[in-house]
């Protein structure tokens, strides 16, 4: 620990001002007061250092000591991250609860990576190899789903002098690298300052779709591996359920879930549910690929500000191994509010609605850490981070600064609608206002698979939904009976798209996640029905008969067809044909 010791001169909530910290740098971590509370320097004016303290500051007063640590806020990266639950500054909440009780006490500290776990290191590089930063030295089986790659840390080049299989904790030296005459001991753990993006060889444009199993997303507003999305919506519109669904079913290899200033019980829900849910691809519990960062709303606000950075630094580390990582941040509004609170205490000139003027650039720099990349290392492996941020605009007002700053940088917008939520239409993603700028690249993928029909079907369905919205205006004025029968057929089709395709029950075992194949067949089924009734109507069938077919019940239940029995779709399609033929003859 650094010898330099300063003293507190002012305390105002989570903000402490100290002097005498000679040589301290911006964003350096310090320890404040006799209780050695965690803090970070966020402003330096002459000999006056503003410190945001990550813990409750009651009992801190002028004259108390402040110690430098010489290091910025950093995370420990290595085997053992998976299945962990951390607070905003990477303290392991499970360990804290075993050692300090049910409440988070101040100054409590435990290493982020458990030193009592022995890992089996299997080298893939060998002595005499010339290595560069990012090169994989060996692997550790971290969980049933994750092979953890131990990489040469950034900044180290050279020749491997010593490496071999061993079993030990993360501090064990697994290799020695000689570069420029210096011997570097490499362990299984790296430390990395969270506010600094980890280096990559180069960024590339994301082109591969990320399948989420959520029909409205995959079909209408898709996202790519390495893409960015935001989910704004008023309270009660189901933001958190959407985030949880993505954390559960998105086809990412690693999921980092950041609960930033949200409800404690929701994190508990994730903690209790994920170990029991099975990843659809591997059958292993979802927890085997998940890292949780939980800084609930009542936990200190400065640590909330840090939590999204802690999350993304962990995500970047797994990306560097060549994995596709999905990061969910719920909610970025709470993060922005934490910035606002600190900024207010610093007496900075406020921008819009009291938020600091740098709000937009901070949000942009966070989302820019997402992306598809070619990782460091000589093997040109690719990794990706997809970032999905929930936004909680006050009163659901999308014109507020956090939503607007976010929309400027993200490519996908899933707008949640409380009217849909009230009518219990979930996910309450509004199909008229949402958008995805990845539609074209995803279409390209899907059209190759479904012979060009994917995008054709989607466009047709979207046209029906948009036409429905126009017609509804009309219905409100003149009543549904005044509409021509063709339009009423369209309304029927639109209703089916809404209820039988877009509506998806997160709590039903089958409905909760739908494969691409099934999504395609389900939408095709509805459109097939619509095409047939339109034609039959021209051939003289009546509206009442066409919209009262018994086969409609089969279509309504089609979303519950199990994934291993998709042939049923063809049977229903035949049934549609048969029942319509019987009408026109």
């Amino acid at each position: 620990m650094n010898e330099v010791k300063g003293e507190v001169i002012k305390v105002s909530g989570p903000l402490v001002i100290a002097r005498g910290l000679t040589g301290a740098r911006m964003y350096e971590m310090v320890r404040v007061g006799e209780g050695r509370l965690f803090g970070e320097i966020i402003e330096i004016k002459g000999d006056s250092y503003s410190i945001q303290v990550y813990e409750e500051t009651e009992g801190i007063g002028p004259g108390q000591p402040v110690w430098r640590t010489g290091e910025p806020l950093s995370v420990e990266l290595g085997p053992g991250l998976i299945r962990s639950i951390y607070d905003g500054v990477q303290r392991p909440l499970d360990k804290l609860s075993y050692d300090f009780g049910e409440y988070i006490v101040r100054g409590a500290e435990r290493p982020a990576l458990d030193r009592s776990i022995k890992w089996e290191f299997n080298p893939v590089a060998k002595e005499g190899d010339r290595v560069e930063p990012g090169d994989v030295l060996g692997t550790v089986k971290e969980s049933n789903l994750v092979i953890h790659k131990i990489m040469v840390p950034p900044g180290i080049w050279g020749i491997i002098k010593k490496i071999g299989p061993l079993t030990g904790n993360v501090d064990e030296v697994i290799a020695v690298i000689e570069g420029e005459g210096i011997l570097h001991d490499i362990t299984m753990v790296q430390r990395w300052p969270v506010r600094q993006p980890r280096p990559v060889k180069r960024k590339v444009v994301p082109v591969e779709p990320m399948v989420t199993g959520q029909r409205v997303i995959d079909m209408f507003f898709p996202i790519t591996k390495g893409g960015t999305a935001c989910v704004p919506g008023p309270f009660g519109s189901g933001k958190t359920v959407v985030q949880h669904q993505l954390a559960k079913w998105a086809d990412a290899q690693i999921v980092v879930y950041v609960g930033c200033g949200e409800r404690g019980n929701e994190m508990t829900d994730v903690l209790m549910e994920f170990p029991h849910l099975k990843d659809p691809a591997s059958g292993e519990p979802l927890m085997e690929r998940t890292v949780l960062v939980a800084n609930t709303s009542n936990m200190p606000v400065a640590a909330r500000e840090a939590s999204v950075f802690t999350g993304i630094a962990i995500a970047e580390y797994y990306r560097d191994m060549g994995y596709s990582v999905a990061l969910m941040a719920d909610s970025t509004s709470r993060w922005a509010e934490a910035m606002r609170e600190i900024s207010g205490r610093l007496e900075e000139m406020p921008g819009e609605e009291g938020y600091p003027a740098y709000l937009g650039s901070r949000i942009a720099s966070f989302y820019e850490r997402a992306g598809s990349v070619v990782c460091l290392g000589s093997d040109e492996r690719k990794g990706a981070i997809t970032v999905i941020g929930a936004v909680s605009p006050p009163g659901g007002d999308l014109s507020e600064p956090v939503v607007q700053a976010t929309l400027r940088v993200v490519k996908v917008f899933w707008g949640l609608d409380d009217k849909l939520a009230f009518s219990r239409h979930f996910p309450a993603i509004n199909w008229l206002t949402s958008y995805s700028l990845y539609q074209d690249v995803v279409d390209e993928h899907a059209d190759t698979r479904f012979e060009g029909q994917w995008s054709r079907n989607r466009k047709q369905a979207m046209e029906i939904l948009q036409r429905e919205a126009e017609l509804e205006e009309l219905v409100r004025l003149v009543g549904v009976d005044a509409l021509p029968h063709e339009d009423r057929l369209l309304l029927q089709a639109a209703k089916m798209i809404r209820e039988d395709f877009l509506h998806q029950n997160a709590f039903d075992d089958i409905d909760t996640c739908t494969s691409i194949e099934k999504q395609y067949r389900l939408l095709r089924l509805i459109l097939h029905y619509y095409d047939r009734i339109k034609k039959a109507f021209k051939d003289g069938a009546t509206l009442v008969a066409l919209t009262g077919l018994e086969v409609l019940d089969d279509i309504a239940r089609a979303k519950l067809i199990p994934e291993d029995d998709l042939e049923q779709f063809s049977i229903i399609e035949k049934r549609i044909d048969n029942s319509i033929v019987s009408l026109t003859w």
């Binding site: 009651e58 009992g59 019980n265």
Partner: protein, 460 residues
């Protein structure tokens, strides 16, 4: 720093509820202060900011009558604490935890810091035990579970107090033999309102298992900042040390937020929306998040905060931020109240986020979820059709839609409406629900599984 605490006579400034003391030594953030007036009377304060030898002290009883020259301030070297003991049950306290019911002083078992510490999310146990409130719109449609925080969003002049009292009176878990307590926190409400609660607690004998904290509308507003924390500290003690299931009713959160705004304005902080401080969300969360259950502990804290929405506006910062923290909301509707329906719960925008884990087979009944969804969707459709009928006339509605309109009316009349002393068991609520559904054609009941229709829908 031991020894006799120094008394300072160096107050230099008094602004609103705040007082600035200069030349202080060894004062820490959050520390309590005793303030002695010339006439010997005492007030309480808390350090809000300390900078060098200058401390900003918030005076709980207000600063009226204070003069910088004749005030003496003594810092107590401790934060705000509440002395707790089982004797608190049956007693009434002010915002500082001092008895105001003419009973004897409490002999505390121990002192607890009222700010509490955040509960470790890892140590939480997920709330999933059904609480029967005897109110159909809550039990069947917006189920309350133990450890949940479910606010009543109301407006001035609406019967939220009556509903809150009814919940406190009737709430029980479908198991017996468990210890149950009510902690009631009244912030800035009128004497009559407070008396309504206390009298009802007395009438039903509930007072014996209640702890009441009262700050009336004419009491110092600043005391309101401390009061909910006092109440929740008492609740935590009862729940997690004495294994009791505690229901905390807090009314009215709007008054609390206004007190917070008053202090923020006096400190000249940059205001957020509508003049409320930017940290309102964080502050409220340190209250609401104290609800919950802890793994390995028997007790629980369930919160029913009551707030009146200014102009019935749900997007006002207080209900808005509350809704983002609490696990749902029960909305009291002016229109229903005007039509004489009690309790006037607006079912459609009301929500309990934790209901799914508290209902179903083994908790309430297997058909609960289906029935709930069906009632929701049928009522929503009926309401929509009614709106349409307003514009186009009833003749424009299809026959089925007319049935739904009738359903919606009957639903409000028979299901939503119930007596103030009517304690409906969940089975009874479900029976009424099924009976209402029998008004509709069977083919329209798409949200309930056939086997439940078979089993529960009244025949004929």
């Amino acid at each position: 720093m031991a020894g006799i605490a120094k008394e300072y006579k160096t107050v230099t400034e008094i602004v609103g509820p705040l007082m600035i003391v200069e030349g202080v030594e060894g004062v820490t953030y959050g520390e309590l202060a005793d303030i002695r007036l010339q006439d010997g009377s005492m007030r309480r304060g808390r350090v809000l900011e300390v900078s060098g030898d200058r401390a900003v002290v918030q005076v709980f009883e207000g600063t009226s009558g204070l003069s910088p020259q004749d005030v003496k301030v003594k810092f107590l070297a401790k934060g705000m604490e509440l002395g707790v003991s089982m004797e608190m049950l049956g007693r009434v306290f002010d915002g500082f935890g001092r008895p105001i019911d003419e009973g004897p002083a409490i002999i505390p078992e121990k002192y607890l810091n009222v700010n509490g510490s955040p509960m470790n999310p890892f140590a939480r146990d997920y709330p999933n035990e059904f609480i029967q409130t005897g109110i159909s719109t809550i039990d069947l449609l917006n189920t309350l579970v133990r450890g949940q925080k479910l606010p009543l969003f109301s407006g001035s002049g609406l019967p939220h107090s009556r509903l809150a009292v009814q919940i406190a009176r009737q709430a029980k878990v479908l198991k017996t033999g468990e210890k149950f307590a009510v902690v009631f926190a009244a912030m800035g409400i009128t004497f009559e309102e407070a008396e309504f609660f206390i009298a009802d607690f007395r009438r039903t004998g509930a007072i014996e298992r209640s702890v009441v904290f009262v700050n009336l509308a004419d009491d110092p507003p600043i005391e309101r900042i401390a009061l909910p924390r006092m109440a929740l500290t008492a609740a935590e003690y009862l729940a997690f040390e004495k294994d009791m299931h505690v229901l905390v009713i807090m009314t009215d959160i709007t008054n609390y937020c206004e007190a917070l705004r008053e202090i923020s304005a006096a400190r000249r902080e940059v205001p957020g929306r509508r003049g409320y401080p930017g940290y309102l969300y964080t502050d409220l969360s340190t209250i609401y998040e104290r609800a919950g259950r802890i793994k390995g502990k028997k007790g629980s804290i369930t919160q029913i905060p009551v707030l009146t929405m200014p102009e019935d506006d749900k997007t006002h910062p207080i209900p808005d931020l509350t809704g983002y923290i609490t696990e749902g909301q029960i909305i009291i509707h002016r229109g229903l109240n005007a039509r004489g329906i009690y309790p006037p719960v607006d079912v459609l925008p009301s929500l309990s986020r934790l209901k799914d884990k508290g209902i179903g087979d083994g908790k309430t009944r297997e058909d609960h979820a289906d029935l709930m969804n069906q009632l929701y969707s049928a009522y929503a459709r009926g309401k929509n059709a009614k709106e349409l009928a307003v514009v186009l006339g009833e003749s424009a509605l299809s026959e089925t839609d007319l049935l739904f309109v009738k359903f919606a009316d009957t639903f409000e009349d028979r299901f939503v409406r119930q007596g103030e002393d009517e304690n409906r068991p969940i089975e009874e609520s479900m029976r009424i629900g099924w009976e209402l559904l029998s008004m509709l054609p069977k083919g329209e009941l798409k949200r309930v599984r056939d086997k439940y229709i078979e089993k529960y829908l009244p025949k004929g």
